[in-house]
Amino acid sequence: MSDTHAQTVPFVRDTMLPAAPPPTRESGAVKWLRENLFSGAVNTVLTILGILIIWFLVATFWDWFAHSVWNASSLTECRQIIAATWGENARGACFAVIRERWNQYVFGFYPQTLYWRPTMAFGLLMVALAPVLFSASLIIRRVVLAITTLATLLCMMVLGAPVGWLVFAALVLAGGLLASERNIAWLLPFSLIYPLLGVWFLWGGSLWGPIFVLVGPLLGWLAWRLLAGISPLLATVGAILVTVLFWLLLAGDAAQSAQAVLPLSIEAVRSDRFGGFLLSITIGVAGIALSLPLGIVLALARRSDMFLIKSLAVIFIEFIRGVPLITLLFVASLLLNYFLPPGTSFDIILRVIIMVTLFAAAYMAEVIRGGLAALPKGQYEAADALGLDYWKAQRLIVLPQALKISIPGIVSTFIGMFKDTTLVTFVGLYDPLKSMSDAVRANIEWKGIYWEPFIFVGAIFFLICFGMSRYSMYLERRLQRDHR
């Protein structure tokens, strides 16, 4: 049989033909261009239009950037250098203003000998954030913390930090690295006390202030333990009352007496010395850290069945969202002074942080409410079916899913809030974008400079906001549980 077959088929190919190269139109860059840029008449026109616009922009601004001067002590000198190098009618950017005044754009009027303190606070902030932001991936955490450690110590050395503080920062950073390798949860207590520590680093003064602020919640916890046996509600009320009363009545005096007994203080820096990105980042970080929990509480309150809680939340959210942020800032900076007794010093930055937080929290609440609403009803019913009480159901089942859905919105609110920190210019604080630039221009050396500060500040804002946005995308990918 097989013979017959063999004779009827004179030739059988036993190797495959080598694959022919694809036509040039269907491979490589040509294919990519055809598919992405010139796939049809409309797209071709749009592509050409886009190239023309880019060409126009580059042609218009290229010489201005290319002729940048980085080394001069005044705008006049800049102009002379440009005229000398590029000809009489050449124009050019004078980024020398940034080189000369970068310290004010970064630190405002913070005392120059103490620049290392905000730097250290920022470095330690990364350590405090690590267990919150990078809890899942060891590699990312390792890279972030290693870079932070190196950069912080290097910057502190350059800025002339005292040896004692260098050692302190090195120890904390090394501890952070170690904890990150072994068990990142070890860092959580540090994250919890960091807000007080950060405030102390930035504003300085007596260490006893932050310590006694910390004592308040401890006493509150004690009261809660004592009263918990009698009634949980009474215990909660009692704990809050004890904490607040301690802060209001005792903490100030206690801190003063303790300071008298054992002086533990670093040089104090007043709020009016803050400015530039130090101010923006301080307000931004505080606002972000405070507005998320407040927003969650407000969102839950708005969905509550209890009439009073729900109405209060609705009134608060709608009021804050209905009023421009600038109005709130004016209220914080000016109107409050009419009501406060004379002589009280209610820190202006604190006032602004409170207003910015309330503002962001109202938006946050609506974003999170969206996440809560997007959750199928079955999830709530499942939580009930498991016999979980309200808080456990929220904590274990509802919020993790709702927050995950809301991540893009939450981060958008953060980014918006961070950019809104420049609005503090209207209450006389030195934000980097306008007030600081105007202050620089108010010196005759730099009068007349316009675009360079905007470009510099804008670039840094972009870096920070873009970073936040990339992080949120990473978080979304990490938390993805469905299979698509």
């Binding site: 004010q104 405002g108 003064g205 007596s206 406060l340 209610f346 006389g428 005759i444």
Partner: protein, 341 residues
């Protein structure tokens, strides 16, 4: 003091309890107790108030604040400069956030009465002018019919401009701007034919141009802008201190008392007016609740009015303002201080 962050919480609570008695006690006592003068200044205006690279404030208005602090507290460095914007300045003063406002603010009827401020004098006689490009071919503000004009909103200049054009039966198109820097930029970019603001500001702006020779400041001054420090209504003693500190600086120039020869004059001057000013005879200081040497310290802080002018905005500086109306009355100017008697 340094628990201020934390005191904020305290203050928030007292807000509920202590609402309603904001203005109490004399400003002088408050300043002395605080050990520091809160002085409202511009957030940044060339020659008048500007922080340098190290955050030290300098300028014409700043010098007045330092003189006042020297008179009251004995130390010209004990000033906390509170930067105020055009919108917040008067509220900052009336709410008590600042003790005195030295922020190139024009003394007007409604500000003095309706806003419940007391202007204590004039430290700079300004007036509104116009700057145009030379090649526009305009030599007088009367020829600006139909022009587009860059104008800063929320200032008296905006109102003056409308008044002036209405009075001369001319029309104009305003281009609203928010700050000097923006105005310069718009003007340079050709968005407006003319830029108008106080003449001192125009001079500084023109000095900073790459090509000052191509721009001219028109001769017409269309408004009176007497700029001066202001205090709140209701505390006359504090107003007296602020007023006579300014007067002391002006009188010192009139009598030839400078920061250099003051020590010598204290010992040797035979002019009775100078002796009273410097507190070697009579007790003028006690009448306003200060010691005898208050004026001496005020003058020592930055020199007399003429020295302050020359150091910050005078002809030797890049801004290069002539004394003009701001010369002593003996030199044909308007500076005329009541006698120290």
């Amino acid at each position: 003091m340094k628990k201020s962050v934390f005191l904020g919480t305290v203050a928030a609570a007292t807000l509920l309890a202590g609402a309603g008695f904001a203005q109490e006690g004399s400003t002088l006592a408050q300043v002395k107790e605080r050990g520091e003068l809160n002085c409202g200044v511009n957030t940044g205006l060339v020659g008048f108030a500007a922080p340098d690279a190290n955050g030290n404030w300098t300028g014409f208005d700043v010098a007045y604040c330092r003189a006042l602090a020297a008179a009251v507290l004995g130390d010209p460095s004990k000033v906390k400069f509170v930067p105020t914007t055009g919108q917040t300045r008067f509220t900052a003063l009336s709410s008590g956030e600042v003790d005195v406002l030295a922020r190139n603010s024009t003394w007007t009827y409604s500000r003095d009465t309706d806003l419940k401020l007391d202007f204590v004098g004039v430290n700079y006689y300004d007036g509104q002018g116009f700057m145009v490009r030379r090649d526009l071919g305009v030599t007088s503000a009367k020829e600006l019919e139909g022009a587009t004009i860059c104008i800063q909103t929320g200032t008296t200049t905006e109102l003056n401009l409308a008044d002036y054009f209405r009075a001369n039966n001319m029309t104009y198109t305003p281009v609203n701007i928010d700050s000097n820097a923006e105005g310069e930029q718009q003007y340079m970019a050709g968005a407006c034919d003319a830029y108008t603001t106080d003449a001192s500001g125009l001079a500084a702006t023109r000095a900073a141009f790459a090509d000052p020779e191509n721009h001219i400041i028109l001769p017409e001054i269309i408004s009176k802008e007497p700029l001066g420090p202001a205090v709140r209504h209701g505390d006359n003693n504090w107003g007296d201190i602020a007023r006579w500190t300014l007067n002391a600086l002006i009188a010192a120039e009139e009598y030839g008392v400078t920061s250099r020869n003051i020590e010598e004059l204290v010992r040797s001057s035979t002019n009775p007016e100078v002796q009273r000013l410097l507190g070697t005879t009579d007790e003028l200081g006690a009448m306003i609740g200060l010691d005898a040497e208050w004026a001496r310290r005020a003058i020592l802080a930055n020199g007399n009015y003429g020295e302050i002018f020359a150091a910050n905005i005078g002809e030797q500086t890049p801004i290069g303002l002539a004394r003009g109306l701001n010369a002593q009355w003996t030199q044909g100017g308007l500076l005329y201080t009541p006698p120290f008697r």
